[in-house]
Symmetry: C2
Subunit: 191 residues, 2 copies
Amino acid sequence: MGRPQTFDTADVVRAARATFWEHGYEDASMPRLEVSTGLRRSSLYHAFGSKRGLFDAAVTSYLDEVVRPRLAALTAPDVAPDAVIDYFAGLRAALASPGTVQAESGCLLINAAGAPIGKDPVVRETVAAYRAELRTAVRAGVVAHFPDRSAAEHDRVADLCTALLVSALLLTRVDHPQALANLDAALDLLA
Amino acid sequence: MGRPQTFDTADVVRAARATFWEHGYEDASMPRLEVSTGLRRSSLYHAFGSKRGLFDAAVTSYLDEVVRPRLAALTAPDVAPDAVIDYFAGLRAALASPGTVQAESGCLLINAAGAPIGKDPVVRETVAAYRAELRTAVRAGVVAHFPDRSAAEHDRVADLCTALLVSALLLTRVDHPQALANLDAALDLLA
DNA sequence: TATGTTGTGGAACGATCGTTACAGAAAAGG
DNA sequence: CCTTTTCTGTAACGATCGTTCCACAACATA
């Protein structure tokens, strides 16, 4: 069997995820990743093949452990009438709490969209699929919240809320109050 | 007086602007900037002090020659009723025309927001001010387009259109059809 | 023409990037 | 025990980054 790993893979990916989240792919240097994960290059390369491999693992971890748990109530078979409200209110609270990665850096994938790494075809597709996943979940919440409205109206509100969401996540870094204002605008749309 | 410059500064800044626009600040290396501008490092450093100085000049050029001319009809003292429509339709046409920098890379400043350079305080403030400028212009257009609506409604529609705009510019790189769809959604709001 | 000043070309700088090579450590199986 | 396999630590790799230095070219002025 050979020598066993001295670290928990999920923990290391989470640590790397935080570093990519905070600094972006380009500025998350290997020395930085060594410090944040507590591993040496040799171990990281042995386990993930490359910096990019580690990033891909971080993205998967981000979707599974950050994005989808928060969307859970909107992607379940039965969606509560106020699940969308809870989603936007919960995200707002997360973005408003100082010191957290979310509040400081917004969204790992939205940030990647405009960065150099966003030119990579795989990353491109990942971000596009991520946005589509957000919009599907939001629409399900909108349907549950406005059951009497038409499908066209559901689409319209879902599109607007998703755009406000994307804008909020992008603006988190550069204009924090405005990011919160965008989430408030989404909550107004749902009132 | 010494030896005169052999190049037109505005032309060089425009060339550098296109490079920063396409590749982002981080991946716009000095060799690349030398090729795109047709100048050697020594001339670039002599004229702009640093890569960052050239970037700042490119940003100023971007605002003055790309952003504000397109916003002109919305920032004038008298705003035509359909000026907002024209703005979003014109931007949609620009993003839809293949081969252009706009269509390939969206917006220089929006892209900078999520990239590592977006952590710089000055860039942060520049992007925030840029978004505010967009929102002010859009609101003026909304007021002219819906003169009978309330101020609160003006704010609401302006906020939504601005978010759709920001989202569209961000998504241009990663999901081009969706970027156009966001601009269409803004046009629907104004119909 | 001689001098002073400014712009350009070319080469090199030190620093840092992501990646790799290799020896030793820690387990399982013979 | 010894061998095999897997993981880790150290050190280095070549490449590229942004920046600087310096000699020379091109102008204005005296």
